[in-house]
């Protein structure tokens, strides 16, 4: 049976698509699934850095499409989980170097090999986004709790509904519980209310996410952290587990004193 193809998208840039792709991919691998993460952000690749696999790239997705290598050769195996692979984007090419049909065929080929194919979509709603979402059976729409991001996510959900009718689930990233409590930030309920799609993940803001990504060791590997757990929870939900949403609490006085946040 072919694996499930899932695209991570947002419309707006900088909301955490690549971080989320890396963490969910690793999370699924930690749960024992076979996964291929495809970086569809041709020309602006980052997924390799976040997964800590940058120095292992030999071929990329464009090389494969142009017939310069076999599919297996283009895949980069993860250094921690032997059943996790990454298909890197080409850094020196433009987004239109790949057609929608080509992306579909690559994704379906990948799905023959593994349980999950995750596609990291580029920002925007143009060709790159269309390519990345065309093969998807499910799109995870990422929004930050801010107006501009929610509005762009709304646009993306609308396009998905109209063009491909692909189901979409929502991930709200960078939630600051203390700001929500002071009513300075949109509450997750407000975002869900506006987008009217089902929630699949709530990720609290955590500076550790950034440092972990910079080191190429995504935070999901650190089971103790709330953000790491939030990512693993999304992976579990994708596998069909019914994981309740952990209440997001502001860091306590002592936690702040100890500098653990």
């Amino acid at each position: 049976m072919a694996g499930k193809i899932i695209t991570i998208s947002s419309g707006k840039g900088g909301v955490g698509k690549t971080t989320i792709t890396a963490n969910i991919g690793l999370g699924l691998a930690m749960l024992g699934a076979r996964v291929i993460c495809i970086d569809a952000d041709i020309g602006l690749r980052n997924l390799d850095v976040m997964l800590g696999l940058e120095n292992r790239i030999v071929y990329d997705i464009i090389n494969y499409i142009e017939g310069r290598c076999r599919f297996r050769q283009a895949l980069v195996r993860d250094k921690r989980f032997p059943e996790l692979f990454m298909l890197p984007a080409a850094q020196t090419r433009a987004k239109d170097a790949i057609s929608i049909e080509q992306m579909k065929s690559v994704a379906h080929e990948a799905a023959q090999m593994v349980d999950y194919v995750l596609i990291d979509s580029p920002a925007g709603i143009e060709h790159g986004f269309r390519c990345a979402s065309a093969p998807a059976e499910l799109v995870l729409v990422v929004a930050n709790p801010e107006i501009a991001s929610v509005r762009d996510a709304d646009r993306v959900v609308g396009l998905l509904e109209a063009e491909t009718n692909t189901p979409a689930r929502l991930i709200i990233n960078r939630i600051k519980p203390e700001m929500v409590q002071r009513k300075e930030m949109l509450a997750p309920e407000d975002v869900v209310d506006m987008l009217a799609i089902d929630l699949i993940g709530l990720i609290p803001e955590d500076p550790e996410i950034l440092t972990a990504s910079n080191r190429g060791n995504p935070i999901v590997l650190n089971n103790g952290s709330p953000a790491g757990k939030a990512f693993l929870d999304i992976s579990r939900r994708l596998q069909g587990e019914d994981v309740p949403f952990a209440p997001l609490k502001p860091p306590s006085f002592f936690q702040r004193l100890l500098g653990s946040h």
């Binding site: 107006i147 509005r151 709304d154 646009r155 609308g158 109209a162 506006m194 009217a196």
Partner: protein, 238 residues
């Protein structure tokens, strides 16, 4: 009146009422100019009846439509010559059973074609007026344009728009742009359970909600009164 223009699910239907094609074209041009925002980008169905449509007439019609980014989509006729002319120009001469609508083609409408008022007249005790009923969330970048009334059961998100020839009734949150009476009807209303739009327009009038947060959200109705758009809460209405 040299012609009638009627919005349907399939497109805007033009029916010439004059034998002079020049008069029809002049009337069309005036109508398009008066409600450009409404017609722009739409598609036209010419319902010619027994009247002949020659190649020259077709070219003149297309020239006008081009200026408004409109497409001549179909020619309906009882005249064999006209049907032949239309076909050789790549036009439809019959409407498909499937409805696509005056809505942009990426937004399939969820309702059947309102029956032709003229042909169904007399069969109903209360003729009422036909409206487009849409049940869904209207998201950023999506728009509904309809010559009659529009009833939306769902929310209109910021960045979305409804442009209607008649009233706009939103059973939900109206947070995008609403333009009622877009063909010039100043008596058109905009009602919503939560009326917090980016902007309201009724006929040629234009209004913005006051800045700042409102205390309590109640269902409201916007109308034109004494040359301005006024918004009244539902419960104080008589």
């Amino acid at each position: 009146m040299a012609l009638t223009l009627k919005g349907t699910q399939q497109g805007i239907v033009l029916r010439p009422l004059s034998d002079s094609w020049d008069d029809v074209l002049q009337g069309l041009e005036n109508a398009l100019r008066d409600a450009e925002a409404f017609f722009r980008g739409g598609r036209l169905i010419a319902e010619m009846g027994d009247q002949e449509l020659t190649k020259e007439m077709l070219t003149a019609l297309r020239a006008i439509l081009d200026r408004y980014d409109m497409e001549l989509w179909a020619v309906l006729s009882n005249n064999a010559e006209t049907i032949h002319t239309a076909r050789t120009h790549g036009l439809r001469t019959r409407l498909p059973g499937e409805t696509v609508g005056v809505l942009p083609k990426d937004q399939p409408a969820t309702v059947p074609i309102p029956p032709d008022t003229a042909s169904s007249g007399g069969t109903r005790t209360d003729p009422g007026e036909y409206a487009l009923v849409v049940q869904r969330t209207l998201r950023s970048g999506q728009s509904i344009k309809y010559p009659g009334h529009v009833i939306l059961v769902g929310d209109v998100n910021p960045g979305a728009e409804i442009i209607a020839g008649g009233h706009i009734i939103v059973w939900g949150k109206m947070r995008g742009l609403a333009h009622a009476g877009a063909l010039g009807d100043e008596h058109a209303l905009i009602c919503a359970i939560e009326l917090t739009p980016a902007q309201l327009r009724i006929a040629g009038y234009f209004g913005r909600p006051p800045e700042g947060r409102r205390r309590k959200l109640v269902p409201e109705t916007a109308r034109v009164s004494e040359g301005a758009i006024v918004v009244e809460p539902w419960h104080t209405r008589e």
